[in-house]
Amino acid sequence: MKFFENVFTYDYSFPAVSLAYFLRYPNPYSRHVLTTDVIDRYVDPATQRLHTVRLHLKKSKVPAGILKLLPKGMGGSDSSGQSYILESTVVDPIEGWMETESRNVEWTGILSVVEKQRYQRHRTEEDLQALDGLSIDKKTEQTTVRTTVTFRSRLGQGKLLGRKKAEAIDHPDSEDEAPKKGFFSSLSTAGIQRTIELIGVSRTRDAVMKSKQGMNVVLERLRSGGIVGVLEGMRMDREAAFGPDGPWKRVWLQGSGLKERVYVDDEDN
């Protein structure tokens, strides 16, 4: 099993980030995402948390490095080049956090990839004062996200365990031989699993970076109000509370230093 971990802070408020999460496709960094559907969505009456299950269909290829480790026929030409990702999220708007979990649905025996994220509202002392109306905003609200990705390959594991068991039953006395066999076969299986897991890790670094850039594009678009007026009401409320140049506007203005680079990159594509 392998892990990937990353912590990142968005210079946007929690409501903006959580909205952008649901709105993040399509963006210039998500061209591989073909469709997105909401399979299930409800507010838990006990906790008032919003639970959402979505299904994304993405274009994907089995990496060549993994392909050559697979038995013939697996992940081969019959593969459609598309894969399903199941995404579950829970939002707590009162406590200001959102937890997400995305996992692949197929090929989980070869490589199961589970990405978990926790978005957490991060307020400074100044913010709280600003919200109380005691002072003008000095710092904006930020949202921190911790991403962990777990990679797990179980390729060959079922067979191996089955054989070990059989050996133990058939040759209870031959303790000298059995562990050796088990040792070598488990070594090679573990080796293949580790290789597959490592390939997953290296691809994920790139994917996590891209997804952040994608989120920033969406946040930027929300800021400029170009896609939909979803935030218009929110902004007006903030204006009503803080005046036309209140913290909300500043949140957007400080928003994303990535903006320029993002669009340049996009043109290159």
Binding site: L23, T36, V38, M234
Partner: protein, 92 residues
Amino acid sequence: MAASIAPECNDIKDQETLATKMKLPRKYDTCFLKWYSEKYLRGNTSSNDCEELFKKYKTCLNKSLKEKGIDTMLDDARKSSSETDSEFLKKS
């Protein structure tokens, strides 16, 4: 917002706005975003403005998922989700 896997559900899920030549979040998505940003995130968590639209969209979607044979695969994935979690915790 992204297209639905079931093109026939797009009318419910969302709709094209030719004026801007951009795919805008459509019926259900629009409803959800409006509700989410204007009500839910502001603490009005018990409202359910989009319930009817979601039911329609879900009915349409479920039919398509069944036809594509994805429905059982998804059920399994959602069930095994909690199982693998406890397995992960045990082994690590």
